[in-house]
Symmetry: C2
Subunit: 127 residues, 2 copies
Amino acid sequence: MDKKLNKPTDAELEILHILWTKGESTVREVHNELSKVKESAYTTTLKLMQIMLGKGLLRRNSNNKSHIYCPVFSEDDIQKGLLRKLMETAYAGSTSKLVLQALGNHKTSREELEEIKKLIIRLEKGS
Amino acid sequence: MDKKLNKPTDAELEILHILWTKGESTVREVHNELSKVKESAYTTTLKLMQIMLGKGLLRRNSNNKSHIYCPVFSEDDIQKGLLRKLMETAYAGSTSKLVLQALGNHKTSREELEEIKKLIIRLEKGS
DNA sequence: GTGCCTTTACGAAACAATTCGTATTTTTTA
DNA sequence: TAAAAAATACGAATTGTTTCGTAAAGGCAC
């Protein structure tokens, strides 16, 4: 899998979010969702999705009266790609620094902390 | 502080890394370091650093024979800015998902895990 | 079928990031 | 001080992203 595919631009990420949340959709449906948040022309959304198709970020089904698009990659895959890039370019591979900053600067619920602690214990056993 | 300042581009980040590591430097010194990793013209490095000066990412001292540049923001500040952006655009604010993926997909030493666990315990007491 | 509305394709403008060449200024050195 | 070398400023080409207008194609109602 091409590295580039895991690194969508910001505008592309907005469209992916909608498709992950609502499932496969037409350009019209995506554009309607997008319109709730930001103003833009219909053809802008169309063009973006066509470009994403060309890049291999989206697939589409042409059997219907209008094309139906869906993401090629899962949200997890894209997140991991972006996270890896941030790790490499900004943290020089130091996972713990990133994790400590994430936990220190962003609110995390007690349940989430518990879940993370469980994973750490599991990792410590496994290593 | 302007949000934009915490989000340097990839090329800018490479230059910041050198300045954080080696301390304040001339364009020549930065370019020599950069040359070890990638090939590029001296004037490319110069132009980039001039642009970063204009953006407020770098300061410079003009008293000397050649300008000496240094970062305006610490590595921590820039990391936090980039991390916040990734959290907002890709993780919808879910810290735990990011942390779990970071720990799950990147190697972390036993010492680092211990450090993270300590922070979690501290956070749980504080909340 | 004709007209209307929607969808599509696509060229191109606007903008930003990156790159480098050239010309000018400054410093060194012989 | 004059020539050579280094540093600087800056215009402009290149590439990539985002934006939209226009024109063509497709589907629907009558």
